[in-house]
Amino acid sequence: MLELRDVHTYYGRIRALRGVSLEVKAGEVVALIGSNGAGKTTTLKTIVGILKPQRGEIQFEGKRIDGVATDRIVRMGIAQAPEGRRIFPRMTVLENLELGAFAREDALGVRADMERVFRLFPRVKERLHQKGGTLSGGEQQMLAIARALMARPQLLLLDEPSMGLSPILVEAIFETIRSIRSQGTTILLVEQNARMALRVANRGYVIQTGRIVLHDTADALLKSDLVRKSYLGEK
């Protein structure tokens, strides 16, 4: 479904990605794990066209999307819950959700998806007419995921959904990711929390200083020495 081949991206003059290749197949949950500054968010920003790759190519459903404008990539079926949630602070929760569905023309489908995200996130429904900026961190994260789902994407990109949340909330967010997966949405999940990410993922990639250093099934990664030492804190 999504394939990156030897992607190099610069962040200003810093070479943030030095040849990233990865693949996400339909129906999978793929985790991209790595520490701070390894290039996880840069990878996602390159996929959605916020950053343009210097070299390499990106294909989505067989079409090249590197160099395509962000809004057009989104319309092709990739939605994201970005790092830091990026909720529109002076708009209501409902308006945030409506904007998630901005590119869609099927009003009936949008309404059905609205009901669907309310079932996934009852808290979001309770806050419907509150301004986005007044929500707590956990609620904003739920809203960010809900907003991305409103696009009814074929591929959902989640950037650090656990960041800054309490363990209970992290558990709740990952529980939701499981139910989204069970409804058939393909997910590329970027996480520092390797344990949680690999528990919901089918496969995983490990990124270090802009390069993929390891990829395998999630179970195998959980058992691998590199992941256990560097990301799970085991000896």
């Binding site: 959605v48 962000t70 939605a79 994201q80 708009m91």
Partner: protein, 312 residues
């Protein structure tokens, strides 16, 4: 004239002036909200909103006051044409002058805006000459209180005053409904709040910027036409002063905030009318800009704004 009659009279004057400022200020604030640019050329688009319909009515040979059905039959298309043209001009200014600088440091488009303003003003001077030019007295002027209602008073409230309010209010309401209720309006606000995330919603950000410039230019055009019909006079530099006052109005209301701009416009209108009466017209500008400075120092987020304007 009794003191209270003077006060009411000046308040009426303030209302009409303020309505025009409000319309200009709303365009100022919209553009600032979306691309964080103080578009100094905005006041000059307002001036074109007087010059363009003036050319149209001159070409059509309309030079007398309209009567009966003519009022609607002439004014409605005249407003539409003016707003379409000034909207298109404002949009073109952005495409030509500001868009190539979208990623440049903020000072670059700001200086460009000042340059565009000078260009439009000088072109207007070449076009219509440096002297004040008369605008035909299109709208019938009837003293409502005395002639229609039979109230014996020195307060002069005419059909022209009423006209200004009757045109301005629906325009402001329509704009407010557009940005709060419609899909495109919401997309515009989203773009103003976070451009990158707006793009990630599938919103074509450049198209939203175009829409913003068009809408702002159309409002400034309407304001220019209203100004012409009310005062029956225009001049090439009129946009400079009106623009500065409207900018002040936008800051006082909270830059980026549309109801704030409307409120700020009315505030500046009342203030300048009262100041003309009770202090001296010569001091009005000093007073208006002193208040601007007070706001920038003590309440930079304005009356309704939620964020202070950035420096530059």
């Amino acid at each position: 004239m009794e003191w209270y009659e003077v006060l009411v009279q000046q308040t009426i004057n303030g209302l009409t002036r303020g309505s025009v400022f409000a319309l200009i200020a709303m365009g100022y604030t919209m553009v600032y909200g979306v691309i964080e640019l103080i578009n100094f050329a905005h006041g000059d688009v307002f001036m074109l909103g007087l010059f363009i319909p003036l050319t149209v009515v001159t070409l059509l040979g309309v030079s007398t006051t309209l009567v009966g059905w003519q009022i609607l039959g002439v004014l409605l298309p005249l407003f539409l044409v003016t707003m379409l043209v000034t909207g298109a001009i404002n949009l073109t200014i952005d495409r030509v002058a500001y868009r190539p600088l979208r990623r440049a440091p903020r000072l670059a488009p700001l200086i460009t805006a000042i340059g565009v303003s000078f260009m439009i003003e000088n072109l207007a001077m070449l076009w219509k000459g440096p002297a004040p030019i008369p605008f035909p007295d299109l709208f019938p002027n009837v003293d409502i209180l005395n002639a229609w209602l039979g109230i014996d008073t020195l307060i002069y409230f005419t059909t022209k005053d009423l006209f200004v309010v009757v045109v301005t209010l629906p325009l402001m309401l329509a704009l407010e409904l557009f940005v709060t209720r419609t899909r495109w309006g919401k997309a515009m606000r989203a773009t103003a709040q976070d451009r990158e995330t707006a793009a990630a919603m599938g919103i074509n950000v450049e198209r939203m910027i175009m829409l913003t410039f068009f809408t702002g230019g159309a409002l400034a055009g309407a304001a220019g036409l209203i100004q012409g019909m009310y005062y029956n006079i225009g001049q090439w530099w009129m946009g400079y002063q009106a623009g500065l006052r409207a900018f002040t109005a936008a800051v006082i209301g909270g830059i980026g905030n549309m109801p704030g701009a409307a409120l700020g416009g009315l505030f500046i209108g009342f203030l300048s009318a009262w100041s003309d009466q009770y202090i001296s017209a010569r001091w009005t500008n000093a007073l208006v800009f002193a208040i601007l400075i007070l706001f920038l120092v003590f309440r930079p987020q304005g009356l309704l704004g939620e964020r202070p304007p950035d420096r530059t």
